[in-house]
């Protein structure tokens, strides 16, 4: 596996202090830590949503920190995907239109292809029946899976997910994690922030952040449904070492 995202000594206010790590292509990585540890700030800064005070962030051969606001926006649109805790979608569009919205904005010429791709994604995530519905007419789990479809529509190099199951019940959260595992198994790279050990145990590698610094790293390997229980126990045990 080659290195896709390289973070070198990134700093932000007093929240992040000299954070360095790498994400391999096709990897699914979770960032954990207590509240206020800087997890979300790290995600915002490495994805270019926020401007880091120092350090370097490389996505492939593009350095993100030095890019202009517009340059970062273009990069996020074309090479990254995002899933947030709050399932923000444009209220005046139906689910299908919301999924293709960023893609059509980026490239109007292939509109029909994007719609076709969106329908396939919806089908893959077992929510094809909600395509024409308004966002208020679907469940939280369905909506978050639709958000994952949206993040996948441009076939991004990496997907950033910030507490993607934070607002969901366990059943919906399981549906969402199945979706993530599915796209990861198909080659998508995912970096996820979570405080839920059960969610993190589905990831290949876990980074533990405390007071803006990486305090530890745990490799669990690719997850499969059969060994989930053991992975979670291992992770919890590891976390207890940090006073979790």
């Amino acid at each position: 596996m080659s290195s896709l995202l390289r973070v070198k000594s990134i700093k932000k206010d007093n929240i992040l202090n000299d954070v360095s790590f790498e994400v391999m292509s096709g990897e699914m990585i979770a960032v954990m830590g207590p509240s206020g540890s800087g997890k979300s700030t790290l995600l915002y800064n490495v994805s270019g949503m926020d401007q880091a005070d120092g350090g370097e962030v490389w996505l492939g051969d593009t350095e993100i920190v030095q890019l202009s606001e517009d340059g970062k926006a273009k990069l996020r649109l074309n090479r990254m995907g995002f899933v947030f805790q709050q399932m923000n979608m444009i209220s005046n569009l139906n689910i299908l239109d919301n999924i293709v919205f960023p893609a059509v904005r980026a490239d109007k010429r292939h509109r029909a292809e994007y719609y076709e791709r969106a329908r396939k994604l919806l089908d893959d995530f077992h929510i094809a029946d909600i395509a024409e519905r308004r966002i208020k007419e679907v469940s939280g789990g369905q909506l978050q899976r639709a958000c994952i479809c949206r993040s996948m529509i441009m076939n991004p190099e990496i997907i950033f997910a910030d507490e993607p199951t934070g607002a969901l019940n366990r059943t919906s959260a399981a549906e969402v994690m199945d979706a993530f595992r599915k796209i990861n198994s198909e080659g998508a790279t995912i970096m996820m922030v979570t405080h839920d050990s059960w969610i993190a145990s589905k990831c290949e590698r876990i980074i533990y952040l405390l007071d803006g610094q990486i305090r530890g790293e745990l490799r669990l390997g690719k997850s499969t449904p059969e060994i989930d229980k053991a992975r979670e126990q291992k992770l919890v045990h590891w976390l207890e070492g940090f006073g979790w």
Partner: protein, 758 residues
């Protein structure tokens, strides 16, 4: 994609969409309408003045006329294109009637004339030069509706009869503000009817292009040519023509600016509220990399569509109203040339309104650029501007009150008895004019003696006007029409200083003071010709400057002893105040019977009729504009408050839900809202009243100064201004709020417990 967003947004926010569209339409309509009317009026007047070949310089003259002297003057100049001497046969209004309507109460100087020889043509409804046949008379179009005259009616002058063959447009005297009206007859009839009145001359000049009219006027005076009467120039005629309809148009323009302001304000709050609601959506769009331009275009395209609809509706409404409001202009001044251009102007006006609104919307949307995706997503910090939704209630109430008060104040001011004092006329009950009379001095004396012995009269004063030569300190000379008499009995309104009390004091009209470049305190020398070819000089101090509209606005007032003056007065005026105003109608009738028979040039009229004659049409126009403004303000308040309350209720839905959860009833929550609204609207009304008093007086003052009345004070009807208007606004606002507050009942106590998705 944008289309889908916009359509769904329209469906989901019908009230807000319709209200926004109404604002845009009304703004476009008003701005388009005022520009349409303004350009129609200006172009129609120009068209008429071009076709009629209005004189550039006109000297009215009563008395003998030395034509040779005039010809020599014309021969000596190279700026005169053509000249003519027109005759005007002054008729006694008491002898005049058309159909069954008498002109007895008419205050205009009505008379007969022939068609202009080589210019100053009187034209018909199609702007064609009229050729009157024997036995025919053409009546000024201004009288058509006032006296309900129809073609074929009989006009009687004493025992003589003429048939009304049609109506004429008189480029010079069309406006009711011009004090004379010309009736056109054939040359034969004019000669035949000459015995019915006294003749006056209109010495008229058309100047070559690029000539200076003012310089010509000065040279004419200096040459000592006939000048026993007012002087009128082309620009003055143009202004007089424009004013009576122009004031109404200016009020519509003023209202359209206020409505534009209200529209921008309302739309601003609608957008800010929308942006607050969509904050996370915008944050998400930014996060996924949608450019700022694309995010703005989502909103802009919605308002672009709304403004296009608003613009079209506005233009449609403007066309309907323009047809109605433009009828008067069309009748008085005819069809404008370049009609297409005027319609283009109207469309441009409507587009301008929309462009201004869209520009403001763009500015508001720029605020979305400042906030980072992270702060929008997390809802923390950032520079996102929170809107105070109650403030528009205050501002719009203030604007609505202001919008009502200006035309209302103008109407009240112009209808008030003291308004005459801004026109250079004393505030008395009756005015008696002695003009076009062979023996003005004796007629005035007879009248004075009769009034002196009349025990119904409380006070009176006699004014005699003569033309005097005046030297300024810098050696320049002017001819002044100086009115001598006791100016303290019925003082006019002085912009500066006071009325003259002594022989060495003189007051000047604003226009004269400006032209002579003198101020209060400056000295001028007045030259008086006495018997035996001698002259006497009076060194006078300018003691006051007053506003005046009579005699072309160029007059002066003094207290010279003119008993030994060689030249007879050009005219004299007697102002009379009666002990009991209620009998003034009867008093006037009695004096009319005794003094206005035959051709003795005496006109007795009540001041209220005099004022009505000049400003009646303008006051009616302003009254119409005033009613329109009041209705419009009511509608605006209604729409804005309904909209605002809906937004506030939506925004504070969770708070209201919490209040319910804590045990407050729907009616208690509604009362809280109502109290708050009443407080804001009331504060707005107070601010509006203050603005109306301060700024409104200035605006109305500016408009009225166009008509010659400057330095005036707003006349306020306390019942209307402090009673009716605030009540109208408050009641409308409360009604609108009550309508919207029914929504409170639908808020559930449990809503505050739910979080997450909206």
């Amino acid at each position: 994609m944008n289309r889908k967003i916009v359509i769904n947004d329209f469906k989901g926010n019908k009230l807000i969409t319709v209200s926004t569209c109404i604002f845009m339409a009304v703004t476009a309509m008003l701005l388009g309408l005022s520009i349409f009317l303004f350009s129609s009026l200006a172009v129609s007047i120009d068209t008429l003045m071009n076709i009629a070949e209005t004189p550039h310089f006109l000297q009215m003259h009563t008395g003998e006329l030395d034509e040779e002297e005039l010809e020599n003057f014309i021969a000596s100049r190279n700026d005169v294109e053509k000249s003519q001497i027109s005759r005007f046969l002054n008729l006694q209004n008491s002898c005049l009637s058309i159909g069954d309507k008498s002109f007895e109460a008419n205050m205009q100087d009505n008379g007969l004339c022939c068609q202009g020889e080589c210019f100053d043509y009187l034209v018909d409804g199609n702007n064609n030069v009229i050729h009157a046949e024997t036995g025919e008379v053409y009546v000024p179009v201004a009288y058509k509706n006032e006296y309900e005259i129809e073609q074929g009616d009989t006009m009687r002058i004493g025992t003589e009869e003429l048939t009304v063959a049609g109506f004429l447009r008189d480029s010079q005297m069309n406006s009711m503000m011009a004090s004379s009206k010309r009736f056109l007859v054939s040359d034969e009839d004019y000669e035949r009817l000459k015995y019915l009145g006294s003749e006056e001359y209109l010495i008229e000049f058309r100047l070559k292009e690029g000539s200076d009219v003012n310089a010509f006027a000065t040279d004419y005076k200096d040459a000592g040519l006939p000048e026993n009467g007012p002087t009128i120039t082309y620009p003055l005629i143009r202004i007089m023509n424009a004013l009576s309809d122009g004031v109404m148009i200016l009020i519509i323009l003023l209202v359209s600016i206020v409505v534009l302001f209200i529209s921008v304000l309302c739309i601003r709050y609608i957008i800010l509220t929308q942006l607050e609601k969509d904050r996370r959506e915008i944050g998400m769009l930014k996060a996924v990399g949608i450019s700022r331009k694309d995010i703005q275009s989502l909103y802009i395209s919605k308002y672009l569509i709304l403004s296009m609809i608003g613009c079209l509706v506005g233009i449609g409404l403007a066309l309907v109203l323009a047809g109605q409001l433009g009828l008067g202009i069309k009748e008085m001044y005819g069809e404008a040339e370049n009609k297409v251009l005027i319609y283009i102007f109207m469309v441009l006006g409507a587009l301008l309104a929309e462009a201004i609104i869209l520009l403001f919307i763009r500015r508001i949307l720029r605020s979305t650029e400042k906030e980072s995706a992270v702060s929008a997503l997390t809802g923390k910090g950032g520079s996102h501007k929170k809107s105070n939704l109650w403030r528009p209630a205050l501002i719009i109430s203030a604007a609505a009150v202001f919008m009502i008060l200006v035309p209302m104040g103008m109407k009240n001011t112009m209808s008030a008895p003291e308004f005459v004092t801004y026109m250079g006329i004393g505030n008395s009950h009756v005015r008696i004019d002695v003009r076009q009379n062979d023996d003005i001095g004796n007629t005035t004396l007879n009248l004075t003696n009769r009034i002196k012995d009349d025990d119904r009269v409380e006070s009176f004063s006699v004014m005699r006007t003569r033309s005097y030569k005046v030297y300024l300190q810098d050696g320049k000379t002017y001819n002044l029409m100086l009115e001598n008499g006791d100016h303290g009995v019925f003082p006019v309104n002085y912009q500066e200083g006071k009325y003259p009390e002594r022989e060495d004091e003189i007051a000047l009209s604003g226009l004269n003071a400006e032209e002579m470049n003198v101020r209060v305190g400056d000295k001028v020398t007045v030259l008086k010709e006495v018997d035996g070819g001698k002259t006497e000089t009076y060194s006078c101090t300018v003691c006051g400057i007053y506003s005046d509209i009579t005699n072309g606005g160029k007059t002066a007032k003094g207290c010279l002893d003119d008993s030994d003056d060689k030249t007879p007065p050009m005219w004299s005026i007697i102002y009379v105040s009666l002990k009991d105003e209620a009998i003034s109608g009867k008093w006037v009738e009695e004096y009319q019977n005794d003094f206005t028979s035959g051709s003795d040039g005496v006109k007795v009229i009540e001041i209220s009729d005099y004022l009505h004659g000049i400003y009646g049409q303008t006051i009616r126009n302003i009254q119409d504009a005033s009613v329109l403004t009041m209705a419009l303000s009511g509608i605006i308040i209604m729409v804005v408050i309904v909209l605002l309350m809906r937004l506030i209720i939506w925004k504070e839905r969770k708070d209201s839900s919490l209040k319910k959860a804590l045990g407050l009833s729907s009616s208690e929550i509604r009362t809280d809202y109502l109290k708050k609204l009443v407080l804001y609207v009331f504060s707005g009304v107070v601010i509006g009243e203050l603005l109306g008093e301060l700024l409104g007086q200035r605006i109305a003052g500016g408009l009225l100064s166009l008509m010659g009345a400057s330095g005036f004070k707003f006349v306020i009807d306390p019942l209307e201004s402090f009673g009716l208007v605030p009540l109208l606004i408050m009641i409308t606002a409360v009604m609108a709020a009550v309508l919207s507050l029914t929504e409170i009942k639908r808020i559930r106590a449990s809503e505050c417990l739910n979080s997450g998705l909206e």
